[in-house]
Amino acid sequence: MQSLSATDLDAVAARHPHLVTASVWSRFRIPLILTSGILYLAFCSWLFSVPQVMSSANWTIAGNYLADWVSYEERPTIAIRDDATMKVEFSRFDPIGPNPNPDWLQAKRETITRTITAPAAAAQPSAPASTFSFMAPAPAPIGTGDAAPASQTVSEEVVTHAVVKMTPDATIEVAPPGVTITRSGETLAISLGRDSVRASGPLPAWATQRAPGEKIVVAFGFSGWAEVRSDAVIVHKRYLGWPGFLFDIDSPYFGKPLSEVLTLIRSDERLDPAQSNLSLAIDNILYNPSWQHLDVWTKLFQTIVMAFVGTLLASVVAFPLCFIAARNITLNRPVNQLVKRFFDFQRSVDMLIWALFFTRAFGPGPLAGISAIFFTDTGTLGKLYSEALENIDDKQREGIKSVGAPPLAVQRFGVLPQVLPVFASQALYFWESNTRSATIIGAVGAGGIGLKLWEAMRTNTNWKNVAYMVILILIVVFIFDAISNALRSRLIGKRNH
C-alpha cells in the first residue's frame, strides 16, 4: 500500500474538505447528549421537587436511624420534682435489664422526709407515659405511686445530685434547680424554672433550643444526646452493639457471659423445672421477643422457597410450551404466534400485579408469591427457551431424522442435548434473581421476609432488626449467587465472571 506524505494529505484535505470534517452529529453528539441528560435530570428534580424535599428532610434523624442499625440507646429519665428531689427511671424496655445501676450515672442518694400531696404526685408526668420504674425493689420510689393518699409525709431515699458521664470529657451534672453540662472544655449552665428552661449564657454549637424557655437539646455525637426540660433530664446514651441478641432481658440467661451460659446449660440444676436448661436456652433464643429469630428465619426460608418453587415450576411448564413456540420445531405459524403472545402477556403483566391478585386468592403467604413468580417467569423463561430452540444447530436433528427416528426421538436426541444446558443455566439465573425480587413482592403481602422488613421499617424504631434481616438476606443472596454461578459455569463452560 502506498502511503501519502504529509503535504499530499494536506492537498487532498484541501480539495475534498468533506472527507476530513466530521458531520455535525458526530462532532456535537457528546456535548448534546450530556446536555440533554443534565437538562432531563434538572426537569426531574423540578417535577419531583427534589430541592424542597431534600431541604425539609430531617438529616439528624437520618443519622440517628443509621446509628440505630448497629447500636442501641439507654434512656434514663431523671425526673425533677418541685422540692428539688429527683428520681431516676429507666424505660421498661431498657436493653440492659431491670434495676440497672450503670457506673456512668452517679446518683447521690439521701433519705429525707418529704410531704407528698396527691395533686403534686399527679402533676408529675415528667417522664413519657410509657416509662415505668423498674426500681421497685429499691426503696427510692416506693410510695410515690398513683395510689398515694391526698397528703402524706414519708421518709424515703431520694436522689439529690446526679452526674451523668456521656464521654470521658463530657458530663451532665444535675443539681436542681440547675443543670451544668460540660463538653470538651465548654460549659453550659442551665437553670430550671417552674415551666421554663434558661441557659446562663449563649448556647454553644452542640446545644439547641427552639424558643426561649423551651427544652434544650444537647448533642454528644455518637455517644448520644440529652434533653433538658423544666421537670426532667432525659438522657440518651448510645452503645455499639445489638443488645439481647441471643437472650432477652426476661431470659434467665440474660447478661451472662458465654462461659457461664455454657456451664448453666451443662449443669443438672434446672432453672425452669418444666424443661432442661438446654431446651430453655434454645427456646429463649428462638422466641426472643425483640429479635424473633425463629420468625425471621421462617420468613427468610419462605422467600427462598418462593423463588425456588416458582422458578422450578415455571421452567417445568415453559419447557413443553417452548417447543410449540419455536418456529423451527412446530411448523405452524399461527400456533407459534399464539404461544409467543401468551408468553409476552405473562411477562408484561408485572410480577407485582400477579402478586396482588394472588394475595387476594390465597391470602397473604408464600403461595401467592410462588404463583406470582410462576406466572411471570413462565413467560420469561418460555420466551428465552424458544429463542434458544430457534438458534440450534440443525445438522444433528437432520442426522437423527435421516435414520428414520420418530419425532419424539428427534427432539430427545437431536435437540435436547444442545439446549438442555442452556435451559438449566437460565433457570438457575432466574432462581438467583428471583431470590432477590421475592423480597420485594413479599412487602405487598406475597409472603416471605419482605413484609417483615417493611413492618420493621414502618415503626422507625426497629432499625437493628432491619439490619439483622438485611445481613441475612445479603448472606443468602451471596451464597445463591455463588452456587448458581458455579453450577452455570459447569453447565455452559467457564465465563469470565
Binding site: Y40, F308, G450
Partner: protein, 320 residues
C-alpha cells in the same frame, strides 16, 4: 441404547471398552436419578412448607384462584375508558369507586391529564432518571473495576465488592429508609432504584470493558496517554454501543422495579394499582393494568428496536 446380544461377540479390547462404558453409563444414570429425587423431595418439601405457612390453604383456595377475574368485571365495557381518561361515570354515587374525574391534573381550565397517565409518567420518569444516574456512576465505577484498565487489585477488589453490595442490597430497605427520612413521594423510590442500578450496570459494564480490544489502549499507552485519556479515547468508543444497549435493557427492568417500589409507598402508578385492587375498584384496576401492560410492551419494543440498531443480534443473547 443397550448393546444387543445378537451382535457378534466383541474382542478382548472391545469387551473392556464396553464394560467401561457400561460403568460410566450406570454411574451417570445413578446420578441423574439421584439428583431428580433430591429435586423432587426439595420441591414437595417446599410446597408443603409454603402451603403450611400460608394463611389460606392451597386446596381450599384453589377454586378461588381466578376470583380476581370476577373482581375485574366492570359494570359495562365503557367504564374502563371512563376510568382511564377520567370521564364522569353514569354510576357515580358519591363513592370513590366511580369518582373518576377526581384525580384529574389540570393544565389549563379545560385541558387536563388523566390521573393514571400522570402517575404512569411519574413512574416512567423515576425509571428513566434513576437509570441515567445509575448509568453515570456505574460507568465510572466499571472502569475502576475492570481487570484490564485497573491493574491495582486494591482498588479493583473493593470497587467490585462495593458494587456487589449495592446490587444485592434489598431495594425495599433503601426505599423504606429514605421514606422514613424524606416522607412519602417518588424520591425514595428514585434513590432505591438508582443505587441498585449502579451495582447492576457496573457489573455488566466492567465485563464489557474486559472483553474489549486492547490494541487502541496499547497504542495510546505507547504515545504516553494518561489513564483518563486511555479510557476516553481507547475504551469509550468501543464499549459505548454495548453500554447503551445495557442501559436500555436496564430501563425496561427499572420501569417494572419502580412500579413495584411505588406499590410499597413510593408513589406513581404502583401505588394506585395497589389501592384500587385492595379497595376492589374493578374498572380502575382494569384501566391501570391495561395502561401498565401497554406501557411495558411499548418500552420493551422500543428498547429492543434501539438495541438491535446499536449492537445487532448480539444484544439478544441471554445474559447468563
Amino acid at each position: 441404547m443397550q448393546t444387543s446380544p445378537t451382535h457378534a461377540p466383541l474382542g478382548e479390547r472391545g469387551a473392556q471398552i464396553e464394560a467401561h462404558w457400561q460403568v460410566l453409563a450406570r454411574g451417570r444414570r445413578r446420578y441423574t436419578i439421584l439428583s431428580l429425587a433430591v429435586l423432587f423431595v426439595a420441591l414437595t418439601g417446599s410446597l408443603w412448607f409454603a402451603n403450611d405457612s400460608n394463611s389460606g390453604k392451597f386446596i381450599d383456595r384453589l377454586p378461588h384462584l381466578f376470583d380476581f377475574v370476577e373482581m375485574l368485571v366492570p359494570r359495562d365495557g365503557m367504564e374502563i375508558w371512563r376510568a382511564l381518561f377520567d370521564l364522569p361515570s353514569p354510576y357515580f354515587d358519591g363513592s370513590l369507586q366511580y369518582d373518576y374525574p377526581d384525580g384529574r391534573y389540570y393544565i389549563t381550565q379545560s385541558l387536563y391529564i388523566p390521573e393514571y397517565f400522570y402517575k404512569m409518567a411519574e413512574t416512567l420518569n423515576i425509571a428513566l432518571a434513576s437509570t441515567i444516574i445509575g448509568f453515570f456512576f456505574g460507568s465510572i465505577l466499571s472502569f475502576l473495576a475492570a481487570r484490564n484498565m485497573m491493574k491495582n487489585v486494591w482498588i479493583r477488589g473493593p470497587v467490585r465488592r462495593f458494587m456487589e453490595i449495592l446490587r444485592a442490597f434489598p431495594e425495599i430497605v433503601l426505599a423504606g429508609f429514605f421514606l422514613a427520612i424524606l416522607s412519602l413521594g417518588p424520591i425514595p423510590a428514585m434513590i432505591a432504584v438508582s443505587i441498585h442500578t449502579i451495582g447492576a450496570l457496573g457489573k455488566l459494564f466492567f465485563e464489557v470493558i474486559e472483553n474489549a480490544d486492547m490494541r487502541p489502549d496499547e497504542g495510546l499507552k505507547a504515545a504516553g496517554a494518561s489513564w483518563i485519556e486511555r479510557v476516553w479515547f481507547a475504551m469509550v468508543p468501543q464499549v459505548m454501543p454495548n453500554f447503551v444497549s445495557y442501559f436500555l435493557l436496564r430501563l425496561e427492568i427499572n420501569v417494572r422495579a419502580s412500579t413495584i417500589i411505588g406499590a410499597v409507598g413510593g408513589g406513581g402508578i404502583g401505588e394506585q394499582l395497589r389501592l384500587s385492587i385492595t379497595r376492589g375498584h374493578e374498572a380502575k384496576t382494569l384501566a391501570i393494568v391495561l395502561l401498565l401492560l401497554l406501557t411495558i410492551i411499548a418500552v420493551d419494543q422500543l428498547s429492543a428496536w434501539l438495541r438491535r440498531k446499536l449492537v445487532g443480534d448480539q444484544a439478544f443473547r441471554p445474559v447468563v
